[in-house]
C-alpha cells in the first residue's frame, strides 16, 4: 500500500474541485484519489484496462466485456489506454452523479463503438448480440437480433437515416428515460450507486 503525501492530495483535490464537470465534494475527491492510489500503487501511475474492469465488476456488478471496455474508453478522454487520476474522478462524476444530459452523452459515447458519432445498425447488432438468451439455431438468433434492431430504429431513429445520431438518441431518451441504457447496462444500478456513494462519504478510508 502506497501512501500519498498530504500536500499532493490537497493540491490535486483543489485542482479537480475547480473543474465544473466534477460534481464531487472535496472529501469525496480525496477519497477517490486515495482509492486510485491504492489500486495503481502511486499517484502518478495510471490505471490500466484490466484493473478498471475489476473495479467495474466488483463495485458495480458489470459483466459484459464489450460494455466494460466501452466504459473504459468513455472514461479515457485522451485515448492513451490508461486512466489518470483526473480521468478517474471526472469519469466517475458522470458515472455516479451525472445529470441526465451528461448521462445521455456518456451512454452515446459508450454505444458508439467506432467513435464516428453515429450508432449504426452494425454497432447495435454487436451490442445486442448477447441480449437474447439461447435459441435453437444460430440463424434464428441473428434473425431475432436483427428484428430487435429494427424495433429500436423504429423507436429511436427520428430522421429515418437507419442510424442513430446524438440528437436522435437524446430525443428518444428524453421522451422515455428507460431508453437511456437501450443497448446494455453501462451505468450503475441505483442500489449499487448509492452504496458506492455511501462508502465515499464515510470518513474511514477502506483502501
Amino acid at each position: 500500500m502506497s501512501v500519498i503525501k498530504r500536500q499532493d492530495l490537497a493540491k490535486m483535490t483543489e485542482k479537480l474541485l475547480k473543474r465544473k464537470e466534477c460534481k464531487f465534494e472535496k472529501h469525496e475527491i480525496e477519497k477517490l484519489i486515495t482509492m486510485f492510489v491504492s489500486i495503481t500503487g502511486g499517484v502518478n501511475n495510471k490505471l490500466d484496462r484490466t484493473k478498471f474492469r475489476d473495479v467495474l465488476h466488483i463495485s458495480f456488478n458489470m459483466t459484459d466485456d464489450i460494455l466494460m471496455d466501452r466504459v473504459f474508453r468513455a472514461f479515457d478522454q485522451d485515448s492513451d489506454n490508461y486512466l489518470s487520476h483526473e480521468e478517474w474522478v471526472i469519469g466517475l462524476s458522470t458515472f455516479l452523479k451525472g445529470a441526465q444530459d451528461d448521462k445521455i452523452k456518456y451512454c452515446f459515447v459508450v454505444y458508439d463503438l467506432n467513435g464516428d458519432g453515429w450508432i449504426s445498425r452494425e454497432e447495435m447488432f454487436q451490442l445486442l448480440k448477447t441480449s437474447i438468451l439461447k435459441h435453437s439455431s444460430e440463424e434464428d438468433q441473428d434473425e431475432n437480433i436483427k428484428e430487435l434492431v429494427e424495433l429500436i430504429l423504429k423507436k429511436m431513429d427520428h430522421d429515418h437515416d437507419s442510424r442513430l445520431s446524438m440528437s436522435d438518441f437524446k430525443q428518444a431518451v428524453e421522451s422515455e428515460i428507460l431508453l437511456l441504457e437501450a443497448f446494455g447496462p453501462c451505468l450503475p444500478s441505483p442500489k449499487l450507486r448509492d452504496a458506492f456513494l455511501e462508502e465515499l462519504s464515510q470518513e474511514q478510508a477502506k483502501y
Binding site: S131, N144, L148, I152, K154, K155, E176, L178, L179, P190
Partner: protein, 986 residues
C-alpha cells in the same frame, strides 16, 4: 393422590400460593373424574376406613346448601348442620356453616365427604374442585403431617410400618407381662387403619399419575431446547427481502441472558411456565411479542413504554410457533408455503415429464405453430356436442389462455415456454396464491360467479374472432417473445416498443393477454430490475383499464406483487404500482386481495407526504406518490372492510392533511376516497371532527366539475348528521351548492349537489338560507328533463324545504306542484318515497291542496298504497293525511275512490310498523267523516285496530286514539271494547 395433584394437575398460577386454581383442562377434568369415582362408593368398599377420623378437617367453600344434606345424626342448628358425633374435644365430624353468602363445609371422615359429594349431584365436579383447591394436600389433612407430600423419596410409609410393627412387638411383650392394656391396643388398631387408608390413597395416587402420563404424552409441553430450535430455524428464513423471507425479524426479547435451565424469561415468570419471549416483526403487521410458555406459544401484550413486559395473554395458545405466525401474518403463511413449494416443484417436474411422454403426439401438433392449432380448435368448436371432457382438453391446448392459471393448471403449459419463464422469474408466486383464486370464487359471492362466467365468455369470443386477427396481434406476440427470451436490455426495448401501441385499444389489451404477455409482465415485477419493473407497470397501468385484463391480473397474482412493490424505495415505481392497483381494484375480489396482503396499510403509508409550498422535484415526487396512493385507496374504499382497514391504518388524519393541498389533481382522489368512505358513520364523525368540512366547502368553489362533484357528494353523505349540516352552513357551503344547480348538463354533479342540498335542508336554519338563495325556484326548474337519480334528490330537497310553511307557497308559485304530482306516476321507488313526502308537505297548504285535488293527486297517492314497497306505502299513507284534512269535501272525495277504503283498511294487516303507523293516521282522518267511518267499520277496522293495540305500544297509538274518538260518536259498544285495550298504551 398427593403426588398426582402436585405434579400432574395443572394449576393456574404459581404453586404454593393459596390462590391457585385448577385450570380447566382436559387433564384436570380426567383427574377429577377419577377422584370422584374413588370417593363415590368408598364407604361400601372400605367400611372401616370410611369412619377413620382425619387429623385435620377438610374445609372448603361449598355450593351444597344445608337443606340438601339429610343424614341421621345431623343436628340442625339455625340453618347450619352439625353432626352429633364429635371427634375429640369439641370438633364435630361434620359441619356445614353459613359463612356470609356462602357455606363452609368441614369434614372429618371420608363418609361425610362422600355424602357431601353425593348431595352436590351433578355439580360434583365443582364441589371437588373447590375442595381440592382449598386443600392442596388433602392427604396431609387426612392422615397427618407426616404423610404430607414431599418431593423426592417418600419413605414415610415404611417408617410408619416399622413403627407399627415395633409397637405391636412391644405390645406383645407388654401383653405377656401385663394383660389388658387395651388403650395401647386401640392405638395400634387405629394406626393400622391409617396405614390401610394410606395404602388405599397411595394406590389412587399411582392410578392418577399413570392416567395423567397417558394424557401428558399426548400433548408434549414446550422445552427451552424446542423453543430455541424453532426460533433459530425461523431466523434463517428471516431478513430484509420481502420476496425471499418469511419475516422481517425474529429474535428473543430481553437482555439475552440465558439461565442455566435454558430459559430466558426472568425467574419469577419461569414459575408460571414462561420459557422465553420472542419478538417478531412480520412484513405485514405490527411487532408481535410472543410468550413461549411450557403450555405453548401465545401473543402477549408486549412491553410498555418503560420496557417492562406486559405478560398478559392475548388470544389462543399454539403448539407451534409457525402455526401462530401463520395465523397472525398472511405474508408469513404465504411465504412459508412457498418454502415448501420449492420442494414440491421438483416432484411436479417429474410428473410433467411423465405427462410429456403421454402427450407426445399432441405436442407435435402444437409445436407445428400457432395457426394450425387454432384451425384445429375451430373444428373442435364446431363439434360442440363432444362433451365437457373434450372442452377441457381444448382449453389445455389453447396456449395463452388465462383459464388454466385460474384453474391451477399452469403445469400443462407447453414445456419450453415454461422453461423460459422459469429462467426469467427467479421467484414464482406460490401455488396457494393461485389456487386460492378459484377457491375464493366459490366464496359465496354472487358477484364472483358472474365474474367467472364473464371470463368464460371472453375466452369463447376470442377464439371465435381468431380467424382475422389484426396485425397488432402478431407484432405484440413478437414483442412478448423478446420479453420472455431477452435479457434486461432486450426486455426494456420490447417494453418500450409495446408502449408505442395504442394500449387504450381493446384489441391490443387482449392481444397482450392472449399471447401470454400478462404472465411475463407480472413476472417481471418480481425481478430485481427497477427499469424492467417500471416498464412493465407502465404497460399494466394502461391495459388494466380493461375489465377482463383486471381480472386476469388478479388471477395471475399480480396484485400481491404490486402490493409488495409499494414498499420499494423507488418513488416512480411506487406511484406506478399504486396507480395500477387503483385500476385493478375496481372489483370486489381484487379489493379483498389487496386488503388480505396488507396493501391497505402500505397504501395509507404512501399518503404520508410533507406538504411544502415550494416546488422542488423531490417534493413533487412525494406529492405524486401520495396522489397515487389516494387513487388506489379510492378504488379500494368501495369495500366496507377496506374502509375499516383504512381507518385502522390511520388514513383519516392523512387524508385530512392532503385535503389542504392546493393541487386539484391531488384533491380529486382524496375527496373521492372521502366521499366513498362517508357511507360509514365512523368516517362521517371523523370528517367532521378533523375539520374536513371546511376544506370540502372550500373545494366546492373549485373550477373542476369532478372535484366539485366529489365534494358535494361527500357533503351529501356526511350531512346525515346535524352538526355537519350546521358546519356546512357556517363555512358558507350552502351558497356554492345552490350555484352548482346551474350546471344542468353535468348530471353527476347535479345529482351530488341536489343530494347535498336535500340533506342540508333537514336543518331549519339551512332552510332559511336556501330560501334567501332562492333554491326552491331552481330546484323546481330541475323537475323537468332530469334523470331519475337527480330527481330523487331534487324532490327529496323540496320535501325537506316544504316543511317550512312559506316554502310551500314558493313551490306553488314556482309551478312546482304539477310536475310533482306528475312524478307520482313513476316507478322508481326511491323517487316515489320522496315525491309522496313532498306532495304530502305541499298538501298542508289549502291552496296547494286545491291544485293537487284538481290534478287528481289524491287518487294517485291512493293508488301508491298498492305499491309493493312498504316505504312507498307508508310515505303515501302519510301524504294522504294532510290531503284529507285540507281537501274540500274530503269525505266525498275519499268515497269516490272505488275500493279505496277497503284497500287502506287491508293495509292494517301489514307487518311494517311504519306502514301501520301511517295507515292508522290516515284512517284517523278518514274516520272524521261519519259515512266513511261506517264503511271502514264494515270492513272490520275495529277488531284489526284492537289487535294492533294489543301488539304494539308505539307511535301509532296516538292516531289510534283519534280513530277511537271518532268511534265514540257512533258505536258505544265497540268503543268500550277498544278503549279498554287502547288505554294502557296511550
Amino acid at each position: 393422590m398427593g403426588q398426582a395433584l402436585i405434579r400432574a394437575a395443572q394449576w393456574t398460577s404459581a404453586k404454593g400460593g393459596s390462590g391457585g386454581k385448577l385450570e380447566f383442562t382436559k387433564l384436570n377434568e380426567e383427574l377429577l373424574n377419577s377422584i370422584i369415582q374413588f370417593v363415590d362408593g368408598f364407604s361400601a368398599k372400605y367400611p372401616e376406613e370410611t369412619k377413620l377420623v382425619f387429623k385435620k378437617p377438610l374445609t372448603w367453600q361449598t355450593i351444597v346448601s344445608p337443606d340438601a344434606i339429610n343424614l341421621p345424626g345431623l343436628e340442625d342448628r339455625g340453618g347450619d348442620k352439625i353432626s352429633e358425633a364429635k371427634a375429640d374435644k369439641d370438633v364435630p365430624l361434620f359441619s356445614l356453616k353459613r359463612d356470609g353468602s356462602d357455606f363452609e363445609c368441614s369434614c372429618m371422615t371420608m363418609e361425610y365427604c362422600e355424602q357431601v359429594l353425593r348431595a352436590a349431584g351433578d355439580k360434583k365436579m365443582i364441589e371437588l374442585r373447590a375442595c381440592l383447591e382449598a386443600n392442596r394436600d388433602p392427604v396431609a389433612n387426612m392422615l397427618g403431617e407426616r404423610f404430607a407430600t414431599v418431593e423426592g423419596d417418600d419413605n414415610s410409609i415404611f417408617r410408619f410400618i416399622e413403627e407399627i410393627t415395633k409397637e405391636i412387638e412391644q405390645l406383645a411383650k407388654q401383653h405377656a407381662e401385663n394383660e389388658g392394656n387395651t388403650e395401647k391396643q386401640e392405638e395400634i388398631e387405629e394406626k393400622k387403619l391409617i396405614l390401610k387408608m394410606r395404602l388405599i390413597l397411595l394406590r389412587l395416587d399411582q392410578q392418577l399419575l399413570n392416567q395423567s402420563i397417558a394424557q401428558i404424552t399426548k400433548d408434549v409441553r414446550l422445552t427451552p431446547v424446542m423453543v430455541d430450535g424453532e426460533v433459530s430455524i425461523l431466523q434463517e428464513l428471516s431478513g430484509e427481502d420481502e420476496r425471499k423471507h418469511v419475516l422481517e425479524l425474529i429474535d428473543f426479547w430481553g437482555d439475552g441472558y440465558v439461565f442455566k435451565n435454558g430459559c430466558r424469561a426472568p425467574p419469577q415468570r419461569q414459575l408460571h411456565g414462561d420459557i422465553a419471549y420472542i419478538e417478531v416483526r412480520p412484513f405485514d403487521g405490527n411487532m408481535l411479542y410472543i410468550t413461549a410458555n411450557t403450555s405453548g406459544y401465545y401473543v402477549n401484550k408486549g412491553p410498555d413504554n418503560r420496557g417492562d413486559m406486559n405478560y398478559e395473554r392475548e388470544g389462543d395458545a399454539y403448539r407451534e410457533l409457525v402455526t401462530l405466525l401463520k395465523d397472525k401474518s398472511a405474508h408469513f403463511a404465504e411465504m412459508i408455503d412457498k418454502q415448501e413449494f420449492h420442494l414440491k416443484v421438483q416432484e411436479k417436474d417429474d410428473y410433467m415429464d411423465a405427462r410429456k411422454v403421454e402427450e407426445d403426439d399432441e405436442d407435435k401438433e402444437s409445436t407445428a405453430g400457432y395457426r394450425p392449432e387454432r384451425a384445429k380448435q375451430k373444428t373442435e368448436e364446431d363439434s360442440k356436442d363432444k362433451g365437457q371432457k373434450q372442452k377441457t382438453q381444448k382449453k389445455k391446448r389453447l396456449e395463452p389462455s388465462l383459464k388454466w392459471k385460474a384453474l391451477g393448471m399452469e403445469e400443462y403449459q407447453e414445456p419450453d415456454t415454461r422453461a423460459e419463464q422459469k429462467k426469467l422469474k427467479k421467484k414464482k408466486a406460490s401455488p396457494r396464491m393461485k389456487t386460492k383464486t378459484p377457491i375464493d370464487a366459490d366464496d359465496t359471492f354472487s358477484e364472483s360467479s358472474t365474474e367467472s362466467e364473464e371470463e368464460e365468455e371472453a375466452v369463447e369470443r376470442r377464439s371465435e374472432t381468431n380467424a382475422d386477427l389484426p396485425s397488432e396481434y402478431w407484432q405484440i406476440q413478437k414483442l412478448v417473445k423478446y420479453l420472455k427470451g431477452g435479457n434486461q436490455t432486450a426486455t426494456i426495448i420490447a417494453l418500450c416498443s409495446m408502449r408505442d401501441f395504442n394500449l387504450a385499444q381493446e384489441t391490443c389489451q387482449l392481444a397482450i393477454r392472449d399471447v401470454g404477455g400478462l404472465e411475463v409482465l407480472i413476472n417481471l415485477l418480481d425481478t430485481e430490475e427497477v427499469k424492467c419493473k417500471i416498464g412493465s407497470l407502465k404497460i399494466l397501468k394502461e391495459i388494466s383499464r380493461n375489465t377482463q385484463i383486471r381480472r386476469a391480473i388478479a388471477d395471475l397474482g399480480g396484485l400481491q406483487t404490486m402490493v409488495k412493490i409499494l414498499r420499494d424505495p423507488d418513488k416512480d415505481l411506487k406511484c406506478l404500482a399504486a396507480e395500477t392497483i387503483a385500476n385493478v381494484a375496481k372489483f370486489r375480489r381484487a379489493r379483498r386481495t389487496v386488503r388480505q396482503h396488507g396493501g391497505i396499510r402500505k397504501l395509507v403509508g404512501l399518503l404520508d407526504c410533507p406538504i411544502v409550498s415550494a416546488t422542488n422535484p423531490e417534493a413533487d415526487k412525494d406529492a405524486e406518490v401520495a396522489r397515487s396512493g389516494a387513487l388506489a385507496l379510492w378504488s379500494c374504499s368501495k369495500s366496507k372492510k377496506n374502509k375499516e382497514a383504512m381507518r385502522k391504518a390511520g388514513a383519516i388524519p392523512l387524508l385530512a392533511k392532503l385535503l389542504k393541498s392546493p393541487n386539484e389533481n391531488m384533491l380529486i382522489p382524496v375527496v373521492g376516497t372521502l366521499q366513498e368512505c362517508a357511507s360509514e358513520p365512523s368516517y362521517r364523525l371523523a370528517i367532521r371532527t378533523e375539520g374536513m368540512i371546511e376544506d370540502l366547502v372550500k373545494n366546492l368553489k373549485s373550477q373542476t366539475d369532478e372535484l366539485q362533484m366529489h365534494c358535494a357528494s361527500a357533503i351529501f353523505k356526511c350531512a346525515e348528521e346535524k352538526e355537519t349540516r350546521d358546519l356546512v352552513r357556517q363555512y358558507g357551503g350552502l351558497d356554492p351548492l345552490v350555484s352548482l344547480l346551474q350546471k344542468t348538463d353535468n348530471k353527476e354533479l347535479l345529482e351530488a349537489a341536489t343530494g347535498a342540498i336535500w340533506k342540508c335542508a333537514i336543518s331549519p336554519e339551512n332552510v332559511t338560507r336556501f330560501q334567501e338563495l332562492r333554491a326552491i325556484e331552481q330546484l323546481v326548474g330541475l323537475l323537468n328533463d332530469q334523470p331519475e337519480e337527480v330527481l330523487v334528490n331534487v324532490v327529496g330537497g323540496l320535501g325537506e324545504l316544504a316543511k317550512d310553511p312559506p316554502n310551500r307557497l314558493l313551490i306553488r308559485k314556482a309551478g312546482g306542484i304539477p310536475p310533482l304530482v306528475n312524478l307520482l306516476t313513476g316507478t322508481n321507488q326511491a323517487l316515489l318515497v320522496n315525491v309522496t313526502r313532498a306532495v304530502g308537505q305541499c298538501a298542508e297548504e289549502q291552496d296547494n291542496m286545491a291544485i293537487i285535488d284538481k290534478l287528481d293527486g289524491v287518487r294517485l297517492l291512493w293508488s301508491l298504497l298498492k305499491n309493493q314497497n312498504p316505504d312507498v306505502q307508508a310515505s303515501a299513507a302519510w301524504a294522504i293525511c294532510p290531503c284529507i284534512e285540507n281537501a274540500k269535501d274530503a269525505g266525498e272525495m275519499v268515497r269516490s275512490f272505488v275500493g279505496g277504503l277497503e284497500l287502506i283498511v287491508s293495509l292494517l294487516k301489514s307487518e311494517h310498523r311504519e306502514v301501520l303507523a301511517s295507515v292508522c293516521a290516515a284512517i284517523a282522518n278518514i274516520a272524521k267523516d261519519e259515512e266513511n267511518l261506517a264503511v271502514i267499520t264494515d270492513h272490520g277496522v275495529v277488531p284489526m285496530l284492537a289487535r294492533l293495540t294489543n301488539t304494539y305500544a308505539w307511535k301509532g297509538s296516538k292516531f289510534q286514539s283519534k280513530v277511537m274518538s271518532s268511534h265514540q260518536v257512533i258505536n258505544k259498544h265497540q268503543l268500550s271494547y277498544v278503549e279498554i285495550l287502547t288505554l294502557p298504551h296511550l
